[in-house]
Amino acid sequence: MSAIPGRPPLPAERPGPLQLLELLWRGRAWNQLALLLLVIVGLFFLVPDPSLAVEVLIYSLWAISLNLLLGYGGLVSFGHALYWGFGGYAAGLALLHFTHSLWVALGASMVLCGLLALSSGAVCLRRRDVYFSMLTLAFAQLGYFIAFEARPLTGGDDGLGNIPTPPLDLPGLSLEMHPIRDPLPYFLLCAGILVLAFAFALLYTESPLGRVLQAIRESEERARGCGYNTRLVQLVTFTLSGLLAGLAGGLDAIFNGLEGLQPYWSLSGLVVIMVILGGRSTLFGSVLGALVVLLLEHYLSIAFGDWPLIVGAVFVVCVLVFPQGLWGLVRLEPLGSWGAVAWTRRLRARTAREPGP
């Protein structure tokens, strides 16, 4: 969260940690966090299928991690399933062979995926635009292939099954978890982690580093002209994004007791859809996207076998008419004002937005 070493200091309004927290408390960011809590409470009370509710939380986390890259960095990764999948393997293998601690397993997911993202990001970020997307895809397919062929380790196509569910160890409390019979503790765990990760991502996007990232999205040349090491900023984001995706994948694998395997390009496509559909301009949009896509998928697939048609149509309409996604459509300014007022305010805000820091 500090400025890049060896570079001129950031402009004068550079906020310190305290100011950032204040910003979080007062500003736009706070609204988003409130909305997230609203969604969590809503999931808790309104969704009759507890597993679905937990999945929404986990996929939200994954979508947020991608949004850092896609929305804030302008880097369209078509290989984000790699970190999700390998995060799942890391957590699963850790619990099967090395540890009984939830935190160690999730830590393993994050560390492994952080390193994986760091190394693959270093290669992918050498190229821009489409080439970047294609390279992320290539790495994801490579990872898929490794997971597929390393059958003794990963279970190959069968998936890595029989992952034990660890107890939830908190200071002064150890709670047995049973995802099928009693999903509540796991729901709370995921909700807690999601809120923390969301707050972290908010702080990151509001931090100087996050600002530079957005500047690069608008014009990389200008950002470089301002003296920033644009590659490094993107790489840091890529690594953080992979790390959070790994965490999400780890949570999912532990929740299911299984890390399945399906082609990573289609899985990556799913999370891209979530981010775009929800709205890539804000982090909360990703939560919205995950919520809508999973609910649509779940309920439509029961009632109407051809649900991808509707998801595809909603997606196309979204790109055509609401490039800002669902969030752009129903964006709630200070928790309440709807429609035209918010719309014009947003338009004004957009035109006023400066391209660089």
């Binding site: 309104l46 059958r151 196509d157 998936g159 099954g161 299911n256 395997l261 609910l295």
Partner: protein, 411 residues
């Protein structure tokens, strides 16, 4: 979960959610029985390479309910069918939602070894019985085997051990194996590697190809060059169909005996007489089997769906019938059910079968079928349009075909 739902019940649901949830939940066939309703969740692959098998399983389940008229003894009985797209994680989610939301009492179905383990895992955690209906080596041994896990399809090794001696004696000694590159294909080959030399065959070569391969042309020159007497085709579904069609273009059928490890009527239909004529295949069900249970099933199935059933329809039909039988006899709880089913014998859609007590593995005969030409179909195959095969050999079930209970670590 109770706590969760009690909370959920107090709150108003999203209009969409409720509407769809209710609509999706009601596929129950009506019955006027008075006992507690029994629900069976069927998770199968209605999309993907094995879609034809999944559709057959769906038909089999619904036919069974129809025949039972929605009743097992005094319990209303119903099935809920879900598509897993033959992806393990999706299978797991579908099974979970069946258990948590629809409160099913039994789980069954699967067309791929990859999904069966996932479904079984949910069943084990929820403590309800699961009846696996596809070939796999996983369900009847640790770590996947559980007190309420049943496997009513054969182990790949059972079929291999049943058919290899016949192949080596009747078709040729040099065998080339073309296998799908996932658990099921490797399980087949593991058994074949052992069985082939023991039965006097030599292995001319082996190739593993990814599930979902559609262009087989790069695989064929190597097969030709190895020049085996017999080509064992280990793939199923669309992979088997597209391979055999392309092999025909290369004229492989005339140069080697082709043996399909898994014959299924739906594959034969897709390939047509041109391609299937002269090939051999193994199956655990064929619609012309002379058995009263089979013939009743075939007649009812033809009436309902306009064509004879395939083996995968029979598996799930059997599963639903077995459950109904035990429920009618009062064995409703998972432990009562399992105790009664383990070690039992029955004669349903697939002829006489038994379930071994130690590992809940079913034992059933294996049939070797030969492809007929269009002209022979009516006279030798029993039907001008569906008489693709004639049964050339019935191999009775035997304990020797499967690993023994002590080998599996179960007593």
């Amino acid at each position: 979960m109770r706590g969760w739902l009690a909370r959920a019940a107090g709150a108003a649901a999203f209009a969409l959610v409720t509407a769809c949830g209710v609509a999706g939940g009601q596929s129950t066939a009506g019955g006027s029985a008075s006992g507690t309703p029994v629900k069976i969740g069927v998770v199968t692959g209605l999309t993907g390479t094995y879609a034809q098998l999944g559709e057959a399983q769906q038909n089999g389940a619904q036919l069974a309910i129809q025949e039972l008229q929605g009743k097992a003894g005094n319990h209303p009985i119903s099935v809920l069918v879900r598509d897993d797209q033959i992806k393990p994680d999706l299978a797991l989610n579908q099974a979970k939602s069946l258990v948590q939301v629809n409160k099913v009492d039994f789980l069954t179905g699967c067309v791929s070894a990859a999904t069966t383990v996932a479904i079984n895992q949910v069943a084990k955690q929820a403590g309800i019985p699961y009846l696996g209906t596809c070939q796999t080596e996983a369900l009847n041994r640790p770590p996947d085997f559980g007190p309420t896990t049943f496997h009513i399809a054969p182990l790949p090794s059972q079929d291999v051990n049943a058919i290899m001696p016949w192949i080596c004696q009747n078709l040729g000694k040099r065998v080339y194996f073309l296998q799908p590159d996932y658990a099921w294909g490797h399980e087949q080959y593991d058994a074949e590697q052992k069985a082939a030399p023991a039965d006097g065959c030599t292995i001319a070569g082996v190739t593993f190809a990814p599930l979902g391969t559609s262009d087989w042309t790069p695989y064929i020159p190597k097969l030709e060059a190895a020049n085996p007497e017999v080509l064992m085709v280990g793939m199923a579904g669309n992979d088997q169909v597209s391979f055999l069609k392309q092999a025909k273009q290369f004229n492989l059928q005339s140069r080697m005996k082709i043996f399909q490890f898994l014959e299924d009527l739906s594959f034969d239909e897709q390939m047509g007489f041109d391609v299937t004529a002269g090939t051999y295949g193994a199956t655990n069900f064929y619609w012309t089997i002379k058995d009263p249970g089979t013939q009743k099933f075939v007649k009812d199935y033809e009436k309902a769906y306009g064509k004879p059933p395939s083996g995968y329809a029979a598996y799930v039909y059997n599963a639903v019938m077995l459950i109904a039988k035990q429920v009618a006899a009062g064995h409703v709880t998972p432990s009562q059910f399992s105790k009664a089913l383990a070690g039992s014998r029955f004669d349903l859609a697939e002829g006489p079968e038994s379930i071994r007590a130690c590992d809940h593995q079913s034992f059933q005969p294996t049939y070797i079928v030969q492809g007929l030409t269009q002209d022979e179909a009516a006279s030798k195959g029993g039907s001008a349009s569906y008489g693709y095969r004639s049964i050339v050999r019935t191999i009775p079930a035997s304990e020797q075909q499967a690993p023994s209970c002590s080998e599996l670590g179960l007593s």
